[in-house]
Symmetry: C2
């Protein structure tokens, strides 16, 4: 049925047909995600809700904003993207997130949590200013609902004097189970549904902020959803409504319903990949150190397991905090615990670290407090696309005074950097990609700002490589060049800050190449450009071009956006010929 | 009485003595602030509350965190800093904000809104982990209470399983009157006090999050404050308490009570300063443009007047939004209104722009939406110190793809940049300091990425100056050098992004100097370093050293931290001699 289905056709379907359509959607999502990777459980939970929205509202005239956006697959299938859906998350294919560039049904791009209510309010406000008439709907999960941005939007609802429909898709899970008092409150509300009590008995909080409150106890019951949305649609002319919908994450597939956490996101493992992940090393090492060092505490924002910290949390529950999707709060908690003599480790994906930029700068670094930022999924992160690439962290961290920035060449070096962090009495960021694909035999002691020479050259070219991926591309280039009798020195530039001035000063090579898995502007290479700005050197930077990097495979994106062994080798060979 | 007063002595005072002490504090604050500048009204409102805290609690054993921190003057006077208080906000003197470096009574540095609840929770959690015993108190104003970070902290109170006292200092004002539903809610609660009704009738929201709620209707009544705090202190052993205290901003001085907005912060005007402020230009120009261009909307976060937008807000109330101290929400509102075809201007201080770094990157720039960021108080901002210097914006903005960054040489050029913004169909940041001190006679048309040659040189040195202050220092240096028969070219590098490649390529000078009112790392100069990294040029960057810049005078700080005519001239003359 999905093939060539138009919104108009969907609206003419019977309930029976819509139910069959839902099953087809569920099957399409499951088979595609198992093939391409992607978000599974969250999308399975959203099928009926989305079909009902399409039945009741008129897209793209009405506007639909998805918080985070990973739950938009049904929406994509219903808005003319069924044919292309098999290319989900592949370079050039359908994105796993809403993309204005992809369809006019996608009215606002998302990727990070908590923006949907603000965005829906902005769209509704613009509608009012322009004197237009359509409905604006935001769909937010109970995990995102913890984020402070949502509170800020709530606080301004009356002030903005506009109407939206906010659908709170409550499945009790962020990626891990949702935590916090708001979540407990939502449970009380859903208990009311369960016992068929008056729905607004406890709903005063939302009403204080200007929302009328309503709910659907079984959001996977299509008939019930359609009925309620039809009712609510009329009310939007005069008021904003929050519709609390209980859905089942992973709905329809036992293996997802039973384990929604590990089926939240499905990765497709390549057979040639090394299985070691940096997150596992973090968890193992930190747990071992915490046995002896009672100052160590671990803080996460709703991603404990993906960051490798499940065991730590189990072993040291009193010294572990998962605050939910509240990156700013997590950062201030770390700073304040450090101010009291503890040694906090805040583990977070590079892309989500952006959320607490101000708190890293002001709370942690201007107070020079010994917090360690464990920056996971740094560099190109692949199939999730623009909003999830970890390619900016070196750029937004390097100008912060007092902060030390370390980048390991492999998991063993990472382990020793964690050891090093315990004796460093100031703020430290360690950034690393997801997977470690190569373990170096030689390991040297970690000293503040000290780099490591990996191989000697013949005195003309020195390659300064920052991090595992950069080093790996640099060594491949060096090997290729060696076949042409050019010996380039390769250096593991494992501290981005401070730089190894002694080693830099000792470089006699005329040509200095820098390589990193980060944006060019503000990154490692530009620190080297500045270092040699008044010296007689020729510097060439290999880093990502000044563009947002879309979804695709890690290796293909690195190559396409400027960081590859090929590009390094080409530069040198062209230079030799020229 | 204040001189040599110890906390122990204060605790032995009678009420009458404490009242006299309060008066002395009030006089000291007023006379000092009128002399040195600083926060007046907010500190006058806090006198009795702070004296009562010192009477009841044991500092520094107990810990006191001030949200934002500008209201800490009484605390400073009572914690051994009376003698030094006359140096308030002067280089080397007492800071206007809490500073751990200054006293062990300052347990946590603040400066930006909303961090105090998180910080108090972190300190309390650390206390519990270490098995220590003391009270943790946060004082937060009703303006900061709008910030999303507070909600994130509330949401985790039960989760963290620790106890704090949160004093909500409610004077109905941020700098401007506080806005939003939370504020309306606080008004309902304070109405209850006024009519002596049962205080917790409406307090369910706070209780949902795990706080017991109590209040004091007149927080400037010392006796009442002491009584209530004494009661509450005992309860902290078993629960967290939010104490809602109504105070009068500017208390005790009619001119402050009547006009707390303009007496919130007092600036000391130097007689030689030009009175023109960039903010006035913004307001005037934007109001004029908005008459014809119906797409234009203005958004601020609780600082409408300081940003020059009062008239705009009055004239176009439907196209104006002040969301309170909610920088992230303000940013997403702008992005989403732009997505619907409007032309939003988000005016904000450079230092507070840090709060929405992620939303600038993801919501505005990755969607390439035509939002204009009007970045006020950029560069060294002076007497407020580390947490308020606007010296990082070029560094944290320049790596964001799609963003254009413009820096005017004076208010006239700023005006034409605002005109330019109306035709640019993408994100733009314009950054400028508070005051314009020099108006250039010659003005040239603004074209994307095009710089302006201010004066020609004799072919050896070219100075690329970014923004009014840098240009002013550069021209002073050039004049000085001319006396020694060295003619340096001076260029108004008014776009940081994109750079003027054509002009850069045409430079025949061997020595290129860059000057900016921003941190060196990641700033304008480093873009030039990278541009010339493989060319035969000698580049010297004048920008701020990699340190947090403390409070002091703008000119003295610029000089001390590396940006001055003297330093530029010295570099060139030394080079000539060498």
């Amino acid at each position: 049925m999905l093939k060539n289905l138009t919104c108009a056709q969907l609206k003419r379907m019977t309930l029976k047909e819509l139910l069959a359509l839902s099953e087809e959607i569920r099957e399409t999502i499951t088979s595609t995600v198992l093939k391409n990777g992607g978000h599974l459980s969250s999308n399975l939970g959203m099928v009926e809700l989305t079909v009902a929205l399409y039945y009741v509202f008129d897209f793209p005239k009405d506007k639909l904003v998805f918080d985070v956006g990973h739950q938009c697959y049904t929406h994509k299938l219903l808005s003319g993207r069924f044919e292309d859906f098999s290319s989900l998350r592949q370079r050039g294919g359908v994105s796993g997130f809403p993309k204005r560039e992809e369809s006019n049904y996608d009215c606002y791009n998302t990727g990070h949590a908590g923006t949907s209510v603000s965005a829906a309010l902005g769209i509704a406000k613009a509608r009012d200013i322009k004197g237009e008439d359509f409905s604006v709907i935001a769909v937010i999960g109970d995990g995102s609902f913890n984020n402070g941005l949502v509170y800020e939007a709530f606080n301004s609802l009356r002030l903005l004097n506009t109407n939206i429909l906010l659908i709170l898709n409550d499945n009790g899970l962020s990626i891990a189970p949702t935590v916090g008092s708001m979540h407990e409150y939502l449970e009380i509300l859903s208990e009311d549904f369960a016992h068929n009590e008056k729905k607004d008995r406890h709903a005063k909080i939302f009403e204080r902020f200007g929302f009328a409150y309503d709910g659907v106890y079984d959001g996977n019951n299509l008939e019930e959803m359609i009925k309620k949305l039809t009712e609510v649609k009329d009310r939007l002319q005069t008021e904003s409504v929050i519709l609390h919908v209980i859905t089942k994450k992973g709905k329809g597939y036992a293996f997802c319903e039973d384990d929604p956490e590990s089926t939240h996101g499905i990765s497709i493992k390549k057979t040639d990949s090394v299985s070691m992940e940096y997150s596992q090393t973090l968890g193992k090492k930190l747990t071992a150190l915490a046995e002896k060092d009672k100052r160590i505490v671990a803080v996460t924002a709703a991603m404990t397991s993906s960051l490798g910290l499940s065991d730590f949390f189990e072993k040291f529950p009193k010294r572990s905090v998962d605050v939910g999707i509240c990156e700013e709060h997590a950062t201030v908690l770390c700073a304040s615990m450090a101010a009291e003599g503890l040694k906090p480790y805040y583990a977070v994906y590079s892309t989500f670290l952006q959320r607490s930029y101000d708190e890293i700068l002001i709370d942690i670094c201007s107070q020079n407090l010994p917090v360690t930022l464990c920056v996971d999924r740094a560099g190109v992160s692949g199939a999730d696309g623009e909003t999830h690439q970890g390619v900016f962290d070196l750029s937004f961290l390097s100008m912060i005074p007092n902060l030390v920035i370390a980048v390991p060449k492999d998991v063993n070096e990472f382990e020793r950097m964690i050891e090093f962090s315990t004796v460093l009495n100031g703020p430290l960021a360690i950034r690393y990609p997801r997977e470690c694909k190569r373990i170096f035999r030689k390991q040297t002691e970690i000293r503040l700002g000290e780099w490591e020479k990996i191989c000697e050259g013949d005195g003309k070219y020195a390659i300064l490589a920052c991090g595992e991926r950069a080093l790996s591309q640099s060594l491949a280039a060096a090997e290729h060049l060696a076949e042409h009798n050019i010996k380039a020195a390769v250096i593991n530039a494992r501290f981005v800050k401070p730089l190894d001035n002694r080693l830099l000063d000792s470089l006699t090579e005329k040509y200095i190449l820098t390589v990193e898995d980060n944006a060019l502007i503000g990154g490692f290479g530009t620190l080297i450009d500045t270092y040699f700005a008044s010296k007689d050197k020729i510097i060439k930077n290999f880093a990502y071009a000044d563009k947002f990097i879309p979804h695709g495979g890690v290796n293909e994106l690195m190559k396409e956006f400027g960081v590859s062994a090929q590009a390094i080798a080409d530069y040198i060979t062209t230079n030799e010929i020229g």
